[in-house]
């Protein structure tokens, strides 16, 4: 870093110190979500209201499970960034900090609940044997 001047190191980073990183990440996640949302609406919407066994079997299949997993991960990361943009427009000082912390925690909580559940549903048919294990005598 000794080769870079202070001016060069600061250029393009702006008052936030991180430049346009948040805007870029919101853009990337928004492009991904355009496709994910379409797939998720028509897979989850199909499963919603199914009897228990049918719904569990539906999310034991790879395609609906991968779509749901990606939608939770990308969607909640998009919310984590986007909600902060909104909060920073309307709140200042300590209120701003608490609201941003709360929104980030909520985003990762729902991400964890959703992702864990989808993975558990997808993996269960692979690890729970269909018939009881019978040991040889």
């Amino acid at each position: 870093m000794h080769f870079i001047t202070d001016r060069k190191r600061a250029t393009g980073l702006g008052a936030s110190g991180s430049g346009t990183t948040r805007h870029w990440r919101l853009t990337v996640t928004s492009v991904a979500l355009v496709a994910l949302v379409v797939f998720f609406v028509f897979s989850f919407g199909f499963a919603l209201g199914m009897p228990y066994e049918e719904a569990a079997a539906f999310y034991g299949r790879p395609f609906p499970a991968i779509v749901a997993l990606l939608t939770f991960v990308v969607g909640m990361y998009h919310f984590r960034l986007g909600s902060q943009v909104m909060i920073e427009d309307y709140a200042g000082g300590a209120t701003r900090h608490w609201l941003v912390i709360g929104a980030i925690c909520l985003a990762y909580l729902l991400l964890a609940i959703g992702a864990f559940s989808v993975i558990a549903l997808a993996v269960r048919p692979l690890i729970v044997p269909a018939a009881p294990l019978v040991l040889p005598a």
């Binding site: 919603l48 709140a91 959703g114």
Partner: protein, 129 residues
């Protein structure tokens, strides 16, 4: 720098009402923000549905019952409208990010496309599902 009152500056909604007339572009912009952030409620409901499906038949019956009740249907239909609106408005931002369609008539046309498109997509989704 010392005489600037930092921390006591007016934040953006202060000008709404007395100083600022709502237009289609600003209305559709505010709607983008409202729909995007409100979708956290929908996400919480859907995360609950998935967690209940993992937990077992009784928990699933409760979550699935609430989300497919008349009130749940109302919330999910409004969520669908909000989701399609936010998606279309997001595509509009991607278009604007490429410095395209920024002229007022074209920007307003995109605003009507978001409003009308979200209603059409919601009706289509309800018909298909």
């Amino acid at each position: 720098m010392a005489d600037i009152p930092r921390g006591n500056r007016p934040l953006s909604p202060y000008m709404l009402g007395p100083y600022y007339r709502i237009q289609l572009t600003s209305l559709t912009s505010i709607l983008t923000r409202i729909t995007g952030n409100a979708l956290i409620v929908t996400t919480a409901l859907i995360a609950w549905w998935f967690a209940a499906l993992v937990s077992g038949p009784e928990a699933y019956a409760t979550a699935n019952g609430v989300i497919t009740s008349w009130f749940g249907d109302l919330v999910m239909t409004l969520s669908l409208l909000g989701l399609w609106y936010h998606t279309l408005a997001g595509i509009r931002h991607l278009i604007w990010d490429n410095l395209a369609m920024l002229e007022v008539p074209k920007a307003e046309m995109l605003g009507w496309a978001c409003l009308g498109g979200s209603v059409v997509l919601t009706l289509l989704t309800i018909i298909i599902l």
